[in-house]
């Protein structure tokens, strides 16, 4: 067991920190969270800067340890997170890199890395959320096109996306995990209607997407027809394995800010609150160690993180909610003021036990795939 980094890794960290120190002050001010076009421009602009500096591929081409260092240092320095590039960089990109043809990799990977194109995720449907394989959006062949009809929901960034990683049912008679196909759908195709959904936090983070006989070239299929479920599992293991690394670092920073705020406003004198903050410190230290543990395992076993990601995701989503509940306690009645820091974050944190597989689904995964308990009720 070893927590130290190699000289090459330390050199990467130092070079990155130096670059962040000179680059971040040149960034434009952050756009309003409700202004999606501005957010797209900001996030893709940041990705372009990373690309030009040689960090464009760090999410999927670097070793897991270098990726960990990248996420740690960018968060410490207060750099933007992936934002609107999330699906492209962390889902579609890695999936195309792993499963795409040389032509597909050439067509799509470069624009993702340069921040030229933004992707959204067309997985969930009104009748297929946690039970993703129950999806019903149909696609049938018409010459060298698939014709797609149905609807998707919870599609983040759909308003500003160029491409959608889309799961469709191509064989309605096959068992539900078979008969699914993974398509890259251009968002400017005819027959697509995007209707933003307002979240409980007041913002339009995601949308409903209606598909009415949308024509998608067969050449846009990644993996074989009816093999989309397997391709999707590749994507989801990325999502659960590494997507939250930067956020753990961010939570540790928020926790320290909470303690300072409590000291300044007198709440620190409450031993109950102090002890909750202390316990959260233990919690996020452990989550950081668990991240390092998972990354080391991933590095030893090849680079796709396994079901250990579910263990992390379960613990982390609840810890994040506890963090912002504690923030509310620090703020007192200020926790009802949406203009105060952390109040909107508290609302957003409510999605963490639902998005990317609910906690209940994650527990089933842990119980069945790690502990080997029988499938069932």
């Amino acid at each position: 067991m070893d927590l130290s980094y190699t000289p090459a890794e330390e050199e990467f960290r130092a070079r990155l920190a130096k670059w962040l120190g000179t680059t971040l002050p040149t960034l434009p001010p952050k756009p309003s969270p409700d202004d999606w076009p501005a957010r797209r421009a900001y996030d893709t602009g940041w990705q372009r800067m990373l690309y030009d500096a040689g960090y464009g591929e760090v999410h999927w081409d670097a070793s897991p340890t270098l990726r960990l260092i990248f996420l740690e240092e960018t968060e410490k320095a207060g750099a933007p997170y992936v934002g609107a590039n999330f699906v492209g960089l962390l889902h579609a990109g890695p999936t195309i890199a792993a499963e795409g043809t040389p032509g597909q990799r050439e067509r799509w990977l470069g624009p993702i890395l340069r921040g030229d194109e933004v992707w959204c995720q067309g997985f969930s449907e009104p009748g297929a959320g946690s039970d993703l394989a129950a999806l019903r959006t149909r696609a049938w062949r018409d010459g060298d096109h698939y014709v797609v009809s149905g609807s998707k929901i919870w599609t983040s960034h759909a308003e500003v996306a160029d491409w959608c990683e889309l799961l469709v049912r191509t064989d309605p008679d096959a068992p539900k995990h078979r008969g699914i196909t993974w398509l890259a759908m251009p968002m400017d195709a005819d027959g697509i209607t995007v209707r933003p959904l307002r979240t409980l936090a007041g913002s339009a983070e995601f949308a409903e997407v209606f598909l009415d006989e949308v024509r998608v070239p067969v050449a846009n299929r990644v993996g074989a027809e009816n093999d989309g479920w397997r391709v999707t599992m590749v994507t989801l293991s990325f999502e659960r394995g590494t997507a939250f690394v930067g956020e753990v670092v961010a939570c540790r920073r928020v926790l320290a800010e909470l303690a300072r705020t409590a000291r300044d406003n007198g709440r620190w004198d409450d031993p109950g609150l102090r002890r909750r903050l202390g316990r959260l410190n233990a919690e996020f230290r452990a989550l950081w160690r668990l991240t390092q543990w998972n990354v080391s395992e991933a590095e030893a076993s090849g680079s796709v993180p396994g079901v250990g990601g579910s263990v992390f995701k379960l613990r982390y989503s609840h810890a994040r909610q506890e963090l912002y509940d504690t923030a509310a306690d620090v703020l007192g009645t200020g926790c009802l003021d949406l203009d105060r820091p952390w109040v909107a974050d508290r609302l957003s944190s409510l999605s963490y036990t639902i998005a990317a597989g609910t906690s209940q689904i994650q527990r089933n995964i842990v119980a069945e795939r790690i502990l080997g308990l029988p499938k069932g009720r």
């Binding site: 067991m1 303690a259 002890r275 202390g278 316990r279 410190n281 668990l290 390092q292 080391s296």
Partner: protein
């Protein structure tokens, strides 16, 4: 960064597990739990543990030890925790460098911890002041306990929390005066000294319990049938088991990292998470066992009681939480 066990560490862990299974397997555990009267320490077994190197693990080779570090000690004590081996293992291990015979298992060492002391009657050397210590009817049938009545307020003022400087030899006519030296560090025998090593080894034992009770619950849930199906197929049971594993794996990351950094903050975090994983894990394990879990025959109560005893070591969670809270302001 290679934050995973090396082949040698894996082998060490397996070796300790094998030794413990030979010396204190399920049969011995059951016999000890069912024995009448206060538990007695099996001296033959204690010497065998000494021969196997449990107490000398971190002692330098020139002093007759094995010369390993804290990470290895933590892996060994995780196995000790799993096995529910009785005896003041942590105190004796920590005394290996300073008390003659401790390293070989000839001498049994215990230490006063706040107002409690484990295995007082059965130990040869006691670190700390035992004036006025009276036996408790210990909830854990495998850990005899004495309680020392500490005047109100004196504990907060710095009563001996961990081993004080002057060991008391049993049978000594005049006990040394009560020590108030709280700074006396534990030594792990490697030259690094830290007053928190006892906390870390306790956390390792709790981790062992957390992982063991998760295994017991899963074993039971796979085989016990109700309504014509293994109860592990029911989501309500499945989720209890998943939560046990998540707590144990989170604690594992914290405990192993603390063994590598040995900082007071990491050790405090490891204690908090490992105590939680052991105590809540044992309770959930009991729940998965249903009515059987509430009987003396199921081993799960032994794990829960030991987890409670260990959780009380070092004064409980408040001190660790306060330390970690203060850390946020630095």
């Amino acid at each position: 960064m290679r934050f995973r066990l090396t082949d040698d560490q894996r082998a060490l862990k397996q070796g300790v597990r094998d030794v413990l299974a030979r010396l204190f397997g399920p049969g011995e555990l059951r016999a000890a739990a069912d024995a009448v009267g206060p538990p007695r320490l099996d001296r033959t077994r204690w010497r065998a543990l000494g021969e196997a190197g449990l107490f000398a693990l971190c002692l330098p080779e020139r002093a007759g030890g094995i010369g390993l570090g804290l990470p290895e000690a933590v892996l060994a004590f995780e196995e000790v925790g799993r096995s529910l081996l009785p005896g003041p293992t942590v105190a004796t291990h920590l005394a290996a460098a300073t008390v003659p015979g401790a390293a070989t298992g000839e001498t049994v060492v215990t230490s006063v911890d706040g107002d409690l002391v484990e295995w007082l009657e059965e130990s040869d050397v006691i670190h700390g002041d035992t004036t006025g210590a009276t036996p408790l009817r210990s909830m854990d049938p495998l850990t005899p306990l004495h309680r020392r009545y500490v005047a109100a307020g004196s504990r907060a003022a710095g009563a001996a929390r961990v081993g004080a400087a002057a060991p008391l030899q049993r049978g000594q006519a005049t006990p040394p005066p009560p020590s108030t030296d709280t700074a006396a560090p534990h030594t792990d025998g490697t030259g690094t000294t830290s007053p928190r090593v006892a906390d870390l080894l306790t956390a390792a034992e709790q981790l062992g319990t957390a992982l063991r009770v998760c295994e017991l619950a899963v074993q039971h849930a796979r085989t016990r049938e109700q309504f014509g199906t293994p109860i592990g197929a029911f989501q309500a049971v499945k989720h209890l088991c998943a939560d046990m594993l998540v707590r144990a794996e989170t604690a594992r990351a914290a405990v192993y990292a603390a063994a590598l950094t040995a900082t007071p903050e990491d050790i405090a975090a490891a204690r908090l998470l490992a105590d939680e994983a052991a105590v809540r894990g044992a309770r959930d394990c009991l729940q998965v066992h249903g009515g059987m879990g509430f009987t003396w025959e199921a081993d799960v109560h032994l794990h829960l009681k030991r987890a409670w005893v260990r959780a009380a070591r070092g004064g409980g969670s408040a001190e660790h939480e306060e330390l970690l809270a203060a850390d946020l302001l630095t």
